[in-house]
Symmetry: C2
Subunit: 147 residues, 2 copies
């Protein structure tokens, strides 16, 4: 098993504001993909779409100001069954997001791509909260010939 | 053991140009850190400095247009002994860089930080080759209170 890890700090924000960007469809659509639908409640499913493809995430945990955990229930074969989590903590003037996308069976090239792409989107989350403007798909940085 | 993985594609560049940015002190100083010194030859050591701290990398492999491999010989405890590699391939109009920083003993918070930070610097490499302008330290995006 292999995991994608990331960390971003968001300046002059709060646990509540960052949590809202991770735990509501409106928040998620402002930094990950504009085409986000579904229900962000425990047991609900959120649909993230990127053109034709995308991911369906079942919401496993929602701990206000602290943690969001999803499991992928539909999408690319390599993603199905993997888990995505965001753990939050405050450090002085910074809200810290520790991110994990865990349970990849093999460190395939697609995992390399997704690792960098998660970094791009987490910088979009940071920008959304620090400046009011994120860069959700389809307006994010394109990384390679797969996009 | 845990690994950091990334992938970036560089448009309208060539294997030779990307290799030069990875295999020469001049190239490295234009996207990773402006304060890069030492000798990029097999068996040589390159010093990468970021303010007070930094990393010393022993060059293990230099395969023109194909692969660069380093081993960390000095720096933060968690980095010592780990290996950093860049594998290159051409796909149509894109030069693809597959990156690995492998051999982390534990997936500590510092590994999360370094994963995102490598993403930031690989976007700087992409920008250098696509636009002529990278964002090496100390002018890169700052991620959190550690910087």
């Amino acid at each position: 098993m292999a995991d994608i890890l990331h960390k971003v700090g968001i300046k002059s924000s709060s646990l509540d504001e960052v949590y809202k960007a991770l735990a509501t469809v409106e928040g998620l659509s402002a930094w990950w993909t504009s085409d986000t639908r579904g229900e962000s409640k425990v047991g609900g499913v959120i649909q993230f779409r990127f053109g034709a493809g995308g991911f369906d995430m079942k919401v496993l945990e929602l701990q206000p100001g602290k943690r969001v955990l999803w499991q992928v229930v539909d999408g690319p074969q390599e993603w199905i069954g993997t888990k995505v989590s965001f753990d939050l903590k405050q450090e002085g003037d910074w809200t810290i997001v520790l991110f994990k996308h865990q349970g990849w069976k093999e460190p395939v090239e697609f995992m390399h791509h997704c690792s960098t792409k998660w970094g791009v989107f987490l910088l979009s989350l940071k920008s959304l909260l620090e400046t009011g403007k994120g860069a959700p798909a389809p307006n994010e940085i394109k990384l390679d010939s797969w996009e």
